[in-house]
């Protein structure tokens, strides 16, 4: 499952419908601050059911709806949809795409849709359960969450972990269970209280139940006794009752008798009283009648006076009215004349108005006709115009279509030419690249070959460098050996030279002379220093010269003497000194050729020419023979000669033989000199060799450096060539790829060109009919427009005509209303006149009626005064009669009064008797009542207590009936 798309409409800052493809992987949203990036996130959160407005950064939920800007109106609903791909079926629904929508209306109504069907929020929450998706899970990470993790408040951190662990659910369950537990505990406490209470009450009730049982027994007994007592009482009360009833009956009888007597007396009394009262009232009446008569008489006399007065007034008023009537009659005549005049005038005016009205009606009818005609024309025209508009619209549409098509054709042509150009370019490019490719391939070949050569060269150089290195090592070894040799030789030479210079090996005398050699003229040198012998003959010469080697050679005899003088008395040992010029010996003959004979010893000694004579003398007759040669045989052949062997053995002519050798390591004097010289030669040779070797090393080194540098160069060259090769290969691959691309592009271009051509053909075929219809339409529109303009002109004329008519109608109306106004005025005036005349007539009528009334009144007054006079006489007579009657009645009254008084006293007596009976009766009745009451009380008590009827008789002996 993944979120594939988010769709927003009207949410926060997104008024237009917006669809964001999200898809798998990472989607980034960028942009400046405050542009609504986070609103996208809010939308997702909102759609997943976020209820907290704070999280959504708004004050109330309706704030998420787009509120409008100064250019855009606010919207009335916000809608967000999330579209999930459910290919993997992770969501427990059958759809492969699941859309979740939340909608909110500004009225506050909100709805959720799942795949466009209304549902509850819970359905959505259930849908995403266990997927880790939801408004409040950790799938939304913001800096706030980082803060939450870093928060000092450990609860926030806990929440995060618990959410991850899914423990929150359990926490809620636990809370619920705890609440229920608390409630149960509370209930239990209450219940235990109640149980304790009930238990207590139960105990007390049990005690009470014991008591109740005792009580019941006693009460049963009590009941028996009570009932017996009650029966007795009842019997007593019944007897009393009977007695009282008899007494009452008697008393009632007596009272009835007394009452009858009283009634009789009363009747008599009231008759007397009535008679008396009648008399009295008759007298009063008569007295009243008398007073009334007197008043009447007085009134009638007054009335008579008034009538006379009024009659005089009435007659005066009648005279005044007569005069007024005459005056009024005269004014009526004037008014009638005026009226006649006005009526004439009115008739004229009415006739004129009538005529004008008719004219107006005609004009109006015409105007209406013109009007309806005009309306019809306008309607028709507007209809036509509408049609024209439609037609123009169609035309413009056609034009647009045309333009679109032409545009399309143009762009297609352009596209086509561009495509063709591209194709050509591509082809050229392809050819070019093909050439390049061949060149590159050649180059690659060449490079490969060059590289191979270079590699060989490199190998060769490396080998050579190896050889050089070897040689150098050898040379180094050699030079090291030479150096060691050299130093050895030099050390030896130094030692030997030191020995020689110190004249070691010479006898002390010799050393003494040599130490003072400066004092001897011409110098002095030991013989050993003056001679040298041929190599190989050292031993022989040394032996041949023997001790003479220690001889000191000086210039002449004087010098010899000087040397000898040095020795004399010096006690420094002996020494032999020989002057160089003293000795002169003849040259030796040639020796016969003998086996083992080398020659004369003198021949093998080298020396200065000056010293030659001396040497010859010293070695005279000494022959050198081969080592180990047959000395005896030689001696025999050369008698008188001293024979010396190469090994240093000597055979004297006398036959004395000297043999043997010096001890190991000891050198003879001559040998020492020889050795020093040899050493010097060797050293020189070694030095030369050393120099040579050093030169060789330098050469080798140079060669090596050269080889190395050449090797490096070759290496670099190799690398360069490799790089070149690589580049070439890359270029080749690039070129090949480009070529392939080109071919693909070419194919694509060809397809494109084909489709462009097809489209062009299609467009052109579309274009033609559109053009035709457009032309036709536009011509017809032009015609129609002309016709319409013409009709517009006609309409204007019609309209002007109608306006004119309307104007005439208006004028006529004005005139008519004026005429009518004049007629109305006249009528009004006429009405006024009539009214005035009527008024006058009415006035006359009224005056006449008044006169009539006055006549009648006068008549009445006459009659009245006559009847008044008559009744006055009558009244006086009546008065006399009544006075007589009154006196008679007064006498009767006195008699009645006396009778009344006696009757009253009798009546009083009777009343006293009666009262006595009455009071006795009352007492008896009260007694009876109380007896009955008592009985009733007992009966009631018995009934209440034992549910028995006392009135049913049972005696003391009879047992009461059992309670049911």
């Amino acid at each position: 499952m993944y979120l594939s798309r988010v769709e927003l409409f009207g949410f926060k800052s997104f008024p237009q419908k917006l669809s964001l493809e999200i898809g798998a992987g990472i989607t980034a949203i960028v942009g400046p601050n405050g542009c609504g990036k986070t609103n996208v996130v809010d939308a997702i959160r909102w759609c997943l059911g976020e209820q907290s407005t704070k999280t959504l950064r708004s004050e109330k939920m309706e704030d998420v709806i787009f509120v409008g800007t100064k250019d855009e109106p606010p919207l009335s609903l916000a809608e967000v949809s999330l579209i999930f791909s459910n290919e993997d079926g992770q969501l427990p629904v059958e759809y492969r795409e699941v859309s979740v929508t939340r909608r909110l209306f500004r009225s506050g109504e909100s709805e959720y849709l799942l795949n466009n069907r209304a549902c509850r929020l819970k359905d959505i929450v259930d849908l995403f359960l266990n997927t880790g998706l939801g408004a409040d899970t950790y799938s939304m990470i913001e800096p706030k969450m980082i803060e939450m993790i870093l928060s000092e408040d450990p609860d926030l951190r806990r929440n995060l972990f618990e959410e991850a662990a899914g423990v929150a659910k359990y926490r809620q369950q636990k809370k619920a269970a705890q609440r229920r537990l608390e409630a149960a505990t509370e209930d239990l406490l209450r219940l235990q209280d109640i149980v304790a209470e009930v238990e207590k009450r139960l105990r007390s009730l049990k005690r009470q139940a014991g008591k109740a049982r005792v009580y019941e027994r006693f009460s049963q007994e009590l009941r028996q006794l009570d009932l017996a007592a009650s029966a007795l009482e009842r019997d007593r009360l019944r007897a009393e009752e009977r007695r009282l009833a008899t007494a009452i009956a008697e008393l009632q009888q007596r009272r009835a008798v007394a009452a009858a007597a009283a009634e009789r007396q009363e009747h008599e009394l009231s008759g007397s009283r009535q008679a008396l009262e009648q008399n009295e009232s008759a007298i009063a009446e008569i007295q009243g009648g008398l007073a009334a008569l007197a008043e009447d008489i007085q009134q009638q006399e007054n009335r008579l006076a008034v009538i006379r007065e009024r009659r005089t007034g009435l007659e005066g008023a009648m005279a005044g009215r007569e005069a007024e009537v005459k005056q009024l009659l005269a004014s009526i005549g004037g008014l009638e004349d005026q009226s006649k005049l006005l009526q004439d005038e009115l008739r004229q005016a009415s006739a004129a108005a009538q005529a004008q009205a008719e004219e107006l009606k005609g004009a109006e009818a015409r105007a209406a006709e013109a009007d309806s005609a005009l309306t019809l024309a306008k309607l028709a025209l507007s209809e036509a115009r509408k049609e024209l508009l439609e037609s123009i619209k169609r035309e413009s549409e056609g034009k647009e279509t045309l333009a679109v098509l032409e545009n399309r054709r143009g762009s297609l042509l352009r596209d086509l030419s561009r495509t063709q150009a591209e194709e050509a370019a591509l082809r050229a490019d392809t050819a070019d690249r093909n050439g390049q490719l061949a060149a590159l391939e050649e180059k690659l070949d060449a490079e490969t070959r060059a590289l191979r050569v270079l590699a060989e060269e490199r190998t060769r150089l490396r080998e050579k460098a190896g050889e050089l290195q070897n040689s150098l090592l050898l040379a180094n070894d050699r030079i090291a050996a030479l150096t060691a040799d050299l130093s050895q030789l030099e050390k030896e030479r130094e030692l030997l030279t030191g020995l020689q210079q110190r004249y070691e090996g010479y006898q002390p005398g010799v050393q003494h002379v040599l130490a003072a050699r400066d004092r001897i003229p011409g110098g002095v040198r030991p013989l050993a220093e003056l001679v040298r012998c041929q190599p190989g003959f050292e031993d022989a010469v040394e032996t041949a010269l023997g001790d003479r080697l220690q001889w000191l050679v000086v210039r002449d005899r004087t010098a010899a003497a000087a040397a000898a003088a040095l020795l004399t008395g010096a006690r420094a040992g002996k020494a032999t000194v020989i002057p160089r010029d003293a000795a002169a010996a003849p040259e030796h003959d040639a020796l016969p050729q003998l086996p083992g004979v080398k020659g004369w010893a003198e021949q093998f000694v080298q020396c200065e020419q000056d010293d030659r004579g001396l040497v010859r003398m010293l070695l005279a007759g000494t022959v050198v023979v081969e080592r180990g040669g047959d000395l005896a045989a030689v001696a025999a052949a050369l008698p008188g000669r001293r024979l010396v062997g190469l090994d240093g053995s000597v055979l004297e002519p006398s036959g004395a033989i000297t043999a043997g050798e010096l001890p190991q390591g000891q050198l003879g004097l001559l040998e020492r000199g020889e050795r020093i010289e040899r050493l010097a030669g060797e050293i020189d040779a070694r030095r030369a060799e050393h120099g040579r070797q050093a030169g060789e090393i330098a050469r080798l080194k140079q060669a090596l450096a050269e080889a190395a540098s050449r090797g490096g160069e070759a290496e670099r060259e190799h690398e360069r060539h490799q790089r070149l090769l690589h580049d070439t290969e890359k270029a080749l691959a690039g070129a090949r790829a480009a070529l392939e691309r080109n071919q693909a592009s070419l194919a694509a271009l060809e397809t494109q060109a084909g489709s462009l051509r097809a489209e062009l053909a299609g467009t052109e075929s579309q274009l033609r009919p559109v053009q035709d219809s457009y032309q036709e339409l536009s011509e017809s529109n032009r015609d129609e427009d002309q016709v319409l303009s013409q009709r517009d002109g006609e309409l204007a004329v019609q309209s002007a005509e109608r306006d004119r008519m309307a104007e005439a109608v208006g004028r006529l109306r004005l005139a008519l209303s004026q005429a009518q106004g004049a007629a109305d005025r006249l009528r009004q005036e006429l009405g006024g006149l009539d009214a005035r005349k009527n008024e006058t007539l009415e006035r006359i009528q009224a005056l006449r009626a008044q006169d009539e009334t006055a006549y009648q009144a006068i008549g009445q007054l006459q009659q009245e005064s006559e009847s008044l006079a008559l009744s006055l006489e009558d009244r006086t007579g009546q008065r006399r009669t009544i006075i007589g009657q009154r006196d008679e009645l007064q006498r009767q009254s006195q008699a009645s009064l006396a009778a009344l008084k006696s009757a009253e006293s009798a009546m009083h007596q009777t009343r006293l008797d009666n009262e006595a009976v009455q009071s006795a009766l009352a007492t008896a009745q009260i007694d009876l009542g109380s007896v009955r009451n008592e009985f009733e009380n007992i009966a009631q008590r018995i009934r209440a207590e034992y549910e028995l009827d006392l009135s049913r008789s049972w005696g003391r002996s009879t047992s009461p009936p059992c309670r049911s």
């Binding site: 979120l3 008024p15 964001l20 990472i26 980034a28 997927t131 972990f161 618990e162 662990a165 009930v198």
Partner: protein, 189 residues
């Protein structure tokens, strides 16, 4: 007498009620204990997983160093406080609150991704998480994002160029007119 019978009945009823309540309470206590045990086990298991993931990712983001998640304050893991300790290479172990801003963010990110290792979410929004990170850290952060992106979709809001580079597709949000956002797609791949 009648009253006595009534009260006896009532007493019997109440006693039964009380017994019912007692057993209900016992049941509830048992339930709570069971819930606690299950929750504790789940919590500890998850915490263990997160710990491993956290340390692994921490060491990757910090190139070495050490980190810890510790429970303190109570023996019961459900009541204890969770303390996060971090030791970047060459520093001493300290509480996460004492780290520098970038280190804090990086540590927290490590923790979040550690949680992801245990409880993978199919979709994750990161809102300017990378803001306090320096270039090197952003690079490591991005590398990790890439690794995680095979299992989780990421919607990342960012100002950082390196983070943009790692994205598969990019949307730009602008506001040409006040109050109206406009989205421009900048697709790669």
């Amino acid at each position: 007498m009648q009253e006595l019978t009534q009260e006896e009945e009532r007493f019997g009823f109440m006693t039964k009620q009380r017994d019912d309540l007692l057993s209900a309470r016992q049941d509830l206590e048992l339930t709570i204990k069971k819930i606690d045990e299950t929750a504790r086990a789940m919590f500890l298991e998850t915490l263990d997983g997160i710990k491993r993931g956290f340390v692994q990712i921490f060491q990757r983001l910090f190139i070495g160093g050490d980190a810890q998640i510790r429970l303190t304050g109570s023996d019961d893991p459900l009541e204890a406080e969770i303390e996060i300790l971090a030791t970047p290479e060459g520093k001493s172990m300290k509480s996460i609150t004492l780290l520098s801003g970038g280190e804090k963010t990086l540590t927290a990110t490590a923790l979040l991704f550690g949680i992801y290792l245990v409880k993978p979410a199919p979709f994750c929004v990161l809102d300017e998480i990378d803001a306090p990170l320096d270039d090197a850290n952003v690079q490591r952060f991005c590398a990790m994002l890439r690794d995680f992106s095979s299992g989780t979709q990421f919607l990342v809001i960012t100002h950082n160029k390196r983070t943009m580079e790692v994205a598969d597709r990019l949307y730009g949000v602008t506001m040409e007119r006040a109050g109206v956002s406009k989205v421009v797609s900048v697709k790669f791949s």
